[in-house]
Subunit: 864 residues, 2 copies
């Protein structure tokens, strides 16, 4: 049975106490089946529909340790004492409140850290001369059946019990008045004194990570209701070591990661303890935590010296006096001895907290003063409009709200501007792998060298996105540079094929330079450097003010596009083709799959496309130049406004150029690596290029790296006896080790069905991420002009006219603001807004996004 | 006194031994003051003049642990037994040799892990039925005086004693024949059973890291002389945990890092051990180690399950049976029980070794098949010419030599193509910080957002390289993109200043586009994208074959240059100025400082420069275009052939443009961040730009990131009510968190005199890194045309004519090959070769490079 007595604690009376005080003790015990029990059987927990929010208006610290039994609870107790029992505290000062949270407790009820803090504080309050009264509580919220009823694990029903038990104690101070408070809470407790994941499994009391976090959030939000934030303090004590598993098996450093609370690391002062402490510190750093101080017990080995040297004074190291080994010692003397250390630690924590909050508050103003953001009219960005991003965990930002000091989760729906891919698990893996790569290689120059990450990455690219056609990988830094390289490759290949190369080799004249042109599509976008810009049609981006040297070296065709409207997939033909369509048939499809179906190759519309292309090219005057390359973004033109080009048109175009011996470049910078539901968009087109460019998602979206893949025929056109015939384009960081490492890891991860649940059985397709029915409804919404949904992308164009339409429009801003309130961070392309997730994002998360979008669209229509 | 008895061990006779065998025991003890004792008093050890070389022709593993006393020595013993005492080994098979190395032993002589391995193996050999004879040795090479003589530490003389002690034992097998061998060696031993750094300090027996490594190298090289590599195996057992300090105080994971041996991690099977094991694994990863297997003792807590889950099957986890706690247990039964586990572990290690070696051997061929290296004529690169880089540690590559299976250190004298900066310490710090940043942020989109690394980096840039003039930071990915952005900024500013902006705002015509031109210098290089290329003069890089769209939109001036020849700094004037110089005075300087001295502003030559520039500009016909920007690389034109431009000429040019209201761009992509001995080369010129570009060394040279800094006046010319007036150039990874983190860390580190010994007292200059006398001698060498030495750069042009000169020349290749034999990795610019070090590289390292260069230059001249 549950040992009631163990919850009853009287503060010790010490010999120097001179004041009367009352003890008030309450205890009750409730047992009901917790509601979390049912939820815990679902293997993948649904995401919370309200985003996680953590108040930062008062200090909250995570107390971590490099191992079990190093004194985390002693540190928590000492901090509570420093805060609550300071001799300076008198009745003229306001009362204080300290919240001690122990989310996960094993060995319960014989072990209870919250009870320990509660009981020691009472004893200390009794010993010390306190002027203000002191009230304390110890709550235990939920426990496994074994922990509560002492039933053998095998006989337990699964689930956790609501255990509304608490103890309360009051110590009356010299001056009376309103009492300071200590609230200790154990959130979840298990009986066996083993690792939480093992206890939870044995006692059939699993608790999902999201449940732990929601409960923590609730405790922090409600813990200080009615209190002045300047008089409150909170610690969350973890169980075991930093990387000990929590109840679900998730390592605790990962479990608590979405909160990213600052941490105190209780290190190890024993022999071997330097190593354990440093390693634990590195584990925290590799999860993005900030460690504010390290505390070690004195074992006479001066471990603090090498620790301080390792930490290079960035982080203070404090030394606690030796802890008495005698179990009967009540530690009162020890706490008095350690009092000065705890006071210092407390001051460090308070000042680190203040500095952090001050910095977070200052950031929007400073950003506005020192940054020059790309694609941003600074005059239109007020200080209030600047988003302070404290961290990211998987697909979510942690955004600091300056107006109410809250850290709130926002889904990164701009997928960090089209790059972001990992979920929280892959993010941690990538962080470790990139740390490894930096430590192993730093950066290593590439030409004529080989090193593992570059080789592995090149091999994976050729076996993956280049499979069946590419034989060479040319690395560069970003999409723009990859495109410039692709153009150089294509033009050389064209020149080579068309027999003019040998003439040109000895020809220094600049006569022919302007003659090579690209064939491209209107609405395309291939990057921001001049060479990439020259390959795109005139647009908002290419005016003299933006690109003083732009001329537009191409023949640009108007492409037919496809979109969803009123729950139907439509084909929209450009002007030159419209008359044909009226004659030849339907301009809509029964489904999106029909759009991509190869049977369309034999349709009338294929014939129309083919003759239109042939006709247009035939009419292009040689005086304007020679078409030396075809360049296109397969299926989706992203920066151009998220337009889906009819894949049939692109396929016909590619085949035409192939017949004419014009090299074909696919710009897969945006579309590559599952963005559109397949590893490459070329698979959707069902044809292959001679050259293709990849970047963005290639590294999982964490770090810049690009690759231009090419066929062996393209490569061969650069072979020769002279270095001057080689491709003399490169960047210092070509194939940099960290980028290649991230790419190799991400490429493998995204397509592994063991790691990415979205990979369907065949391995070539992501499952449908955006709920079809809901997307259909949104496409029928009166505020919506068109929807494009494919793979990780769901975009819509708001109905707008005049200056409300187009890239410069601010039409969507009120809608975007509302979505941010819902925890969705988006950035528009004028009146086009889009949601983008990662290749591993759960469809349930996407469904939540659509629900919120639909609701906000309704509001948006009503306002207009 | 030294307890001799403790070195004598007889193998136990077990009940099932049926064979006669002899025991041969030898012991002698020598005491002489070690030669390392003297060396150990020098605070910074000189680099070894011969590069570190580790044989990889047989397996060598590092045995590491997450804490002390987890069983590293048991694992070493078990592996030795698996290898040497296999029952399958008979006299027809060749004998085997196992080398056990314990570099650092404390608690000696009562504790000696090598003696333990030695004695247990003898006992096991005695117990088991061995067919082949077995010979074993235990050596102890050096020990502190306290450890040897048992004198109190206070009375000790500093230094380590040569302790040529060894034990030997022979067990005769059933079949006789040549014996298998076990050689156990303790390299350095101390008496106190504490952390090595503490024992070394207390016992006045410090050993430098380089001494440990050299001794290890020697043991590995000599350990198997005369043995067939396929029959040998070696382990190096570390002391304590992975991050326990070694004798010098360097953490062991850092101490052994230059070898980067594959590791076996002995984890912790106890409560809390999951965390410690994972953290230790992460510490090893954060040093670039590969962990091949994790071994834990069974404590009934199934720690292997969460460990295997964390490791995702990348690394196998093996479980050892519980180790008897009884100290009198001879562990014979335990070893028999654990035999199967050790056999598996051994197989894993053998197969990981084979895979690694196979991969290293395959890499050159595979690289030649899948890579397309930039700036490389593939036809000229044979498989043999490909360098296999296994890792980097600070300034050194670890290069795998395919022909003799040796891993050898090579100084990265191309400084990884002009980026590399950190020494080994900073590399580790950067790896951890970048891992942290990836874990905290991954990547976060930049526009209208603020996050700590971007803000800190921008602030550091403006307070540092932009101090006194810049007010805005525009981030991009590399030097080329930073230059394209700079050009856009400059042209907008020019247009704005010259009153044509409002005309152009409503002017869509393309008439004026080609009119804006840059003023630039011949020999300059600003990057590889088209826009950057357009700003440079025609060169090998700009021909039609390379840049089909290149036109060269600039007025390009011939600059006067400065160089060292015959130990004298000369001024070389371009053709147009030569007649003047004859009239007006000296063309050489008394010292390099004189070149930079501001008093030259008042010299005749300043006047000549000024009027030459004014005259040339006045003559530039408006039909060719309007000069809208000045762009130059301050002081050194790098890609153009490592030319030092007369700083006076550049200053005069800048002042001229400033007077004409022409925006000035400094391309500091190469020169920035201490490359030339000052944080910016602008400091050497003593004038400031309106816009400056930084990249390469900005992140410490580890990861691509660029910044274009600008004045507020430049920024203001983009302000307006329309987004279309903003600077619409950006890349998805603008201000990516990892790059900004690396930059912030490196910027602070390089200029901190506490961390970078090369920072002279004033903090604005690096101390002279290249020995002046030796550089002077090299400049007088008959093979040398000219030398340019400044900051971290030492370049020289070899005297060459015709096709031997210029970028396409292969003239230097034999010299470079020789330098690689000396452990120096260089890459030429045609007949120009250069050494580049990092801002923290010790002058002694540079001196060693020069010594080797001078020797090889002598040989080079003799061949010619």
């Amino acid at each position: 049975m549950f040992p009631l007595s163990s919850l009853l604690h009287f503060p010790h009376r010490s010999h120097h106490r001179r004041h009367h005080h009352h003890h008030l003790l309450l205890l009750f015990l409730r047992r009901t089946l917790s509601t979390t029990a049912a939820a815990s059987t679902i293997p993948q927990s649904p995401p919370p529909s309200t985003p996680l929010q953590i108040p930062l208006s008062f200090p909250t610290y995570l107390i971590c340790s490099s191992n079990t039994s190093l004194g985390k609870t002693l540190v928590s107790t000492g901090l509570a004492a420093s805060f609550l029992l300071s001799t300076h505290s008198h009745s003229l000062l306001p009362p204080k409140k300290f919240l001690y949270l122990k989310p996960v407790q094993t060995g319960f009820p014989s072990d209870s850290d919250s009870r320990f803090v509660f009981s020691k504080l009472n004893s200390l309050a009794g010993r010390r001369t306190i002027r203000r009264s002191f009230l304390s509580f110890d709550h235990v919220l939920k426990a496994s059946r074994s922990a509560v009823g002492d039933v053998p694990s095998e006989e337990c029903e699964p689930g956790m019990l609501d255990l509304g038990s608490y103890s309360e104690c009051r110590v009356v101070g010299e001056e009376g008045g309103e009492a300071s408070e200590l609230v200790c809470k154990t959130l979840f407790a298990w009986r066996d004194a083993v690792s939480p994941h093992l206890a939870a499994e044995r006692e059939k009391g699993t608790v999902e990570d999201s449940t732990v976090l929601e409960n923590l959030q609730r405790c922090l939000e409600r813990g200080f209701e009615g209190w002045d934030n300047s008089n409150v303090f909170s610690v969350i004590e973890t169980a075991g070591g930093v990387a000990s598993p929590g109840p679900s098996g998730t390592l605790q450093c990962d479990l608590y990661r979405p909160l990213r609370l600052p941490a105190i690391l209780v290190g190890d002062g024993r022999l071997g303890g330097i190593s354990g402490t440093i390693s634990a510190y590195e584990t925290l750093k590799l999860r993005g935590y900030d460690v504010v101080a390290v505390v070690v017990e004195d074992h006479g080995l001066v471990n603090e010296v090498p620790l301080a040297s390792y930490l290079r004074k960035r982080v203070p190291v404090l030394v606690l006096p030796s802890i008495p080994q005698d179990l009967s010692d009540d530690l009162m003397e020890w706490f008095e001895d350690a009092c000065g250390v705890f006071d210092s630690l407390f001051k460090i924590m308070l000042s680190a907290y203040s500095e952090r909050i001050k910095r977070l508050h200052d950031m929007p103003k400073k950003a506005g003063e020192v940054f020059w953001w790309p694609f941003t009219q600074h005059k239109l960005v007020s200080e209030e409009a600047v988003t302070v991003i404290d961290s990211r965990c998987g697909e979510n930002f942690a955004v600091f709200k300056v107006n109410n000091d809250v850290m709130t989760q926002q889904f990164d729906a701009c997928a960090s501007w089209w790059t972001q891919g990992p979920d929280a698990t892959l993010q941690t893996e990538l962080a470790r792998e990139m740390g490894y790569s930096a430590a192993r290689f730093g950066h290593v120059m590439f030409p004529e060298n080989v090193y593992e990450p570059a080789l592995e990455c090149a091999e994976l690219l050729l076996e993956g996105v280049g499979k069946g056609w590419a034989s060479r990988t040319y690395f560069s830094d970003n999409g723009s540079t990859a495109i410039e390289i692709a153009l150089k490759m294509a033009f050389r290949k064209f020149t080579f094929d068309h027999g003019t190369l040998s003439d040109l080799l000895n020809d220094d004249s600049t006569q022919r330079h302007s003659q090579l042109m690209v064939l491209a599509l209107n609405g395309s976008y291939h990057g921001d450097t001049l060479g990439a810009m020259e390959a795109q049609a005139p647009s908002s981006y290419t005016g003299f003010l933006q690109q003083p040297w732009y001329t537009g070296r191409g023949l640009f065709l108007d492409p037919p596009t496809v979109f969803l409207c009123n729950n139907k997939w439509n084909l929209s033909l450009p002007e030159g083709l419209q008359s044909h369509s009226l004659k030849y048939g339907n301009t809509w499809f029964s489904s999106r799959s029909e759009v991509f179906h190869l049977s369309r190759d034999k349709s009338d519309i294929a014939e129309i496309y083919s003759s239109h292309i042939a006709h247009t090219l035939a009419q292009y005057p040689e005086s304007k130049g020679i078409i030396g390359a075809l360049i296109l973004e397969p299926v989706i033109q992203a920066a151009g406004g998220m337009h889906m080009v009819d894949p049939l048109f692109q396929r016909v175009l590619v085949n035409h150029c192939r017949n004419e011996n014009i090299p074909v470049i696919f710009d897969e910078v945006f579309t590559g690596f599952w963005r559109l539901g397949t590893e490459t968009a070329a698979e959707l087109l069902n044809c292959v290029p001679d050259i293709a460019c990849f970047a963005k998602l290639m590294t999982g979206g964490t770090i810049p790296l690009a690759a231009t893949l090419a066929t062996s025929a393209v490569f061969d056109s650069f072979l020769g006896d002279s270095k001057l015939k080689a491709l003399l384009h490169g960047h210092s960081y070509s194939a940099h080790a960290m980028g290649c490492t991230a790419a190799a890891k991400s490429i493998k991860w995204f397509k592994d069905p063991q790691l990415n649940r979205n990979i369907a059985s065949g391995g070539r397709l992501l499952r449908e991420l955006w709920d079809e029915k809901m997307v259909g409804e949104i496409s029928s919404h009166p505020a919506v002009q068109r929807v494009v949904v494919l793979g990780t992308l769901c975009a819509l164009e708001l109905r707008a006219e005049g200056s409300n339409a187009g890239y410069g429009s601010l039409y969507a801003s009120s809608l975007l603001k509302q979505l941010r309130e819902d925890g969705i961070f988006t950035r528009p392309l004028g009146n086009v807004i889009y949601f983008m997730c990662g290749p591993c994002t759960s469809p349930e998360v996407c469904r939540q996004l659509l629900i919120k979008l639909r609701r906000r669209l309704d509001e948006f229509s009503q306002i207009r």
